[in-house]
């Protein structure tokens, strides 16, 4: 399986992703990796039905995504990976999946989180996982829209005294 792009966006497939991101980083599959969403049949269906025409989308638990990545059966897949949080990305990286760059695109604000950009808010666990990803050499960029400038996540966290 090839990696087209890796994005953290807790809305998973939505307008910006379906119309611009998956076209900019061309792919033939979309894989949403989330234990939580994979268990939620209604949400799963609602996310899958908005996959762009002609692109097959899957919602799988993280462990299943790791197995699929390593399965030669899916060698023809050029996959656009979507996650809802950096901890799930870290689980994949720790299992040896070679993500070199991860885009931090959308994590909505809930109480107890700190907003670091218009579209992204993080909690302590997110920061911890981002730090570990950085230590493993994964490049982390903060960018909501394709056309937005890429902001270095670690520099941003540093400047906000979150590290």
């Amino acid at each position: 399986m090839k990696i087209s792009y890796v994005r953290i966006d807790d809305r998973l497939i939505h307008g910006q992703v379906a119309t611009v991101w998956v076209k900019t980083y061309s792919c033939n599959r979309i894989m949403c990796c989330s234990d939580e969403v994979a268990q939620d049949e209604l949400r799963k269906q609602l996310v899958l039905q908005v996959a762009p025409p002609g692109l097959k989308a899957y919602i799988v638990p993280v462990q299943k995504a790791i197995e699929a990545f390593n399965n030669p059966k899916y060698d023809s897949f050029n996959t656009f990976f979507l996650f809802t949080n950096p901890t799930d990305v870290l689980r994949m990286v720790e299992a040896g999946i070679p993500f070199d760059t991860v885009n931090l695109g959308g994590m909505r604000y809930v109480e107890g989180k700190t907003q670091i950009s218009q579209a992204v808010s993080v909690n302590d666990q997110d920061v911890e996982s981002l730090k570990k990803l950085h230590e493993k050499g994964v490049k982390l960029e903060l960018r909501q829209l394709v056309k937005d400038p890429k902001v270095d996540v670690m520099e941003k966290l540093q400047s906000m005294n979150l590290l």
Binding site: G15, V20, Q45, L48, Q49, Y58, K64, L145, V146, K147
Partner: protein, 143 residues
Amino acid sequence: MLAIIIGTHGYFAEELLKTAEMIFGPTSNVKTIHLIPGKGVEDLVKEYDAAIEELDTSNGVIFLNDLFGGSPYNAACRVAMRSDDYAITAGVNLPMLIEVLSMQSMEGAVPILEVMERALAAGQTGQSNFHRTLFEKMATEEL
């Protein structure tokens, strides 16, 4: 560069462009033309001409109109009769505009006839129905 002119009844064009920018980011080489009460087809032709003057039209001009047969469309037809490099797609919606913006930002020129066809296709495939009785029957593909 491909020039994009959105011509609509009322301020739909301008608001549609602002909405597209929420998804696409900032845009350039796009003009909006509005038919407001009191204006006629002649006025719109002049406004289209003025817009074309200000745009980079080296890769052609695509007119996106809201209503087939409406005045913004009819005026665009008059302008588009003048050049093979001009084309019109009616029934503009958000998926259509995003597709056209994507083609504009691609490296290398997309032929204007292809721009026109892909705009129409995007507008059409961007439309769909939802009803829970039909939706529940939808099969999910498993890995």
